[in-house]
């Protein structure tokens, strides 16, 4: 496709007047990139990621996703974008505790209007791909943290998104399990050409990415290949 997948210009975010969380952010990300956004807590990196994920709206500036100005879209159009284009992986997994693993993975397809049979078929396929075949009827709290994060990744991938947004995906995991999760991201990026944006405060996790954007006090301090 033409143009960058993500283009941000003059972006700012204020929660209170005179207290910018983000200020004059400019960058663009092409399809197929693997980018780490790094910064200390309170640097504004999570806010940036929420705006990129269409969960939050900027106070000023523009955010173009696939060339469309997200400021012009209403809540339902943004929901559609999140559903079709973006997959989220959170630090705290954010699975629905009462639903089975299969239902959790298939949930985005429900909002895409897919039938029960379709949802189940695709969810089983994803479950197999993350190596948890046979765990489908369990509840999230019956799985380990690493397994839950793999389920979250499966849920993010089930709608075949172009972009994965991962917010501290290894933050609740031990080092070894974290490495395993990062390997999955590598495979997704290299073999499936999925754009990945990773938000982290850990340098060794950020080192997995091919491009590193550092955020300090709401501004981009550096933007370079790693």
């Amino acid at each position: 496709m033409e143009g960058p997948l993500i283009s941000v210009s003059g972006l700012s975010k204020y929660y209170l007047e005179n207290m910018p969380v983000l200020k004059d952010i400019n960058f663009s990300i092409d399809s197929g990139e693997f980018v780490a956004i790094m910064g200390h807590s309170g640097s504004g990196k999570s806010t940036l990621m929420n705006i990129l994920g269409c969960l939050d709206t900027p106070t000023g500036g523009h955010y173009y996703l696939e060339g469309r100005d997200t400021a012009a879209l209403n809540a339902d159009e943004l929901a559609l974008l999140r559903n079709r284009l973006i997959g989220f992986v959170f630090q705290g997994f954010n699975l629905l505790p009462r639903s089975s693993i299969l239902d959790n993975i298939g949930l985005p397809l429900l909002y895409a209007g897919k039938s029960k049979a379709e949802r189940r078929e695709k969810a089983l396929l994803m479950l197999d791909r993350i190596g948890l075949a046979g765990f489908g009827e369990r509840k999230p709290n019956q799985l380990s943290g690493g397994q839950q994060q793999r389920v979250a990744i499966a849920r993010a991938l089930v709608t075949d998104p172009k972009l994965i947004l991962a917010d501290e995906p290894t933050g609740n995991l031990d080092t070894q399990t974290g490495e395993d999760i990062m390997k999955i991201f590598h495979v997704l990026n290299e073999d499936h050409n999925i754009t990945i944006i990773l938000v982290t405060h850990e340098a060794d996790i950020a080192a997995h990415a091919k491009r590193l954007i550092r955020v300090v006090d709401g501004r981009i301090a550096s933007d370079q290949p790693s």
Binding site: G53, L55, F88, L96, R98, L107, Y111
Partner: protein
């Protein structure tokens, strides 16, 4: 979102908090149950009143003779014998009148074999069957020729049959009334209680001439105690009443300054008032019961608000992965409606059961109609939608990031 999935989500949410869901449902159970039961009792009472009205006959007047004044003491209606068979005949010729039954009655002792029974013996004409809308269930009625020749025949009410004859068929048997032998010509169909609780079947009818000349005797020939008059329709009741008044004043030669020596009473107006009262009572019962339905609805709203707050994070997750506002709205609305529907289902059963329980122990008539069940059900769904809407909208209007950050 697909209906099946909505039902599944709703069911899962209901099961997740079983005690809370049950208690919320209980509000609807009692609300719907109370509405069903109150409607059943109200409609039962209305039916009873309507049956009594129908048993009395419709479009009915009763013409009573006037009161006597003796030495300053005024007696009640019917104490001055002013009405005669000829008056009755004249009334029956008015254009608005369908049938007329002059009546001369008194109580008397009836004897059959070893049984005896005191009852109201009414002398009247065969037209009384039309006036009272009564039928003969076995045997036959006496005829105008029986009235002309003052024969000793009688028509017997069910209560008298039971007391004198038991299981025996009285038609064709002889009974003694005040020691005169009478032939039982027929038995009247049962009519039940009147509005004031009188047993209408505890009576016998004989030709009016027999009553006047042979059984009781009269102060002057042809005198009757009252005349029952049936108008042709409800619309002509007013004109009929005026006609009777004018006719009787003319016949009794009452001048303009004198009071009537008779009274015309519109019985239908009395019964309509009774019916109106019962209807008002039924409506009031329903209205009181609806309040509990309202309280049940508020319970649903309360618990749905708690549920939305508790599940804010879940809502955030759903929004992040693509749920539209409509999806969230429907999910919570469905949950509220499912709770109210399940509650009303149990409520309908409880209501019907308690209505019959009530009728069993109170000897009152209850009527559970399909329409009252449908009404209670419909209102319950409406309550679910109405009280579920605000919490659901609150959930749907959450900002994704705020919902997701909620701890």
């Amino acid at each position: 979102m697909i209906i099946g999935a909505l039902l599944g989500e709703g069911w899962a949410a209901m099961r997740a908090n079983r005690l809370r869901t049950s208690l919320t449902m209980l509000g609807m159970v009692f609300g719907v149950g109370a509405v069903i039961m109150m409607l059943a009792i109200g409609q039962g009472a209305q039916l009873m009143v309507n049956e009594s009205i129908a048993s009395m006959g419709s479009n009915l007047f009763i013409v009573l003779s006037g009161s006597t004044t003796a030495g300053g003491l005024r007696q009640g209606s019917g104490t001055v014998p002013t009405l005669t068979l000829d008056d009755a005949q004249a009334i029956s010729e008015l254009p608005e009148i369908a049938a007329v039954a002059p009546t001369f009655s008194n109580t008397a002792q009836l004897i059959y074999a070893a049984s005896n029974w005191s009852t109201l013996v009414s002398g009247t004409t065969p037209a009384f069957l039309d006036v009272r809308e009564w039928t003969v269930s076995s045997g036959e009625a006496f005829s105008d020729s029986d009235v002309r020749s003052a024969t000793r025949v009688l028509l017997m009410g069910q209560t008298v049959v039971r007391n004198l004859f038991g299981d025996e068929n009285p038609v064709g048997k002889m009974v003694r009334v005040k020691n005169s032998p009478f032939l039982v010509l027929g038995v009247l169909a049962p009519k039940g209680q009147s509005l004031d609780g009188r047993d209408q079947d505890d009576t016998v009818f004989i030709p009016i001439t027999t009553a006047q000349r042979q059984l009781f005797g009269t102060e002057f020939p042809g005198m009757v105690r009252f005349i029952m008059v049936k108008a042709k329709s409800a619309e002509v009741m007013d004109r009929a009443e005026q006609g009777i008044n004018e006719l009787l004043r003319a016949r009794h030669r009452i001048n303009e300054r004198q009071e009537d020596d008779f009274t015309v009473r519109n019985l239908t107006a009395v019964t309509q008032a009774a019916a109106g009262t019962t209807k008002a009572m039924a409506t009031m019962l329903g209205a009181i019961a609806s309040v509990s339905l309202l309280v049940g609805g508020i319970g649903i709203m309360n618990i749905m608000l708690v549920s939305v707050t508790e599940r804010t994070r879940e809502i955030g997750i759903r929004m992040a992965i693509g749920a539209r506002q409509r999806d969230i709205l429907l999910q919570f609305l469905f949950e509220a409606v499912m709770i109210s529907l399940a509650g009303s289902l149990i409520g309908v059963m409880l209501g019907i059961a308690s209505a019959y329980f009530f009728s069993h122990f109170n000897d009152a008539l209850v009527v559970v109609t399909l329409s009252s069940v449908v009404l209670a059900f419909g209102v319950a769904v409406a309550v679910g939608v109405f009280f579920g809407f605000y919490p659901a909208r609150k959930a749907a209007n959450l900002k994704p990031i705020e919902a997701l950050r909620f701890q």
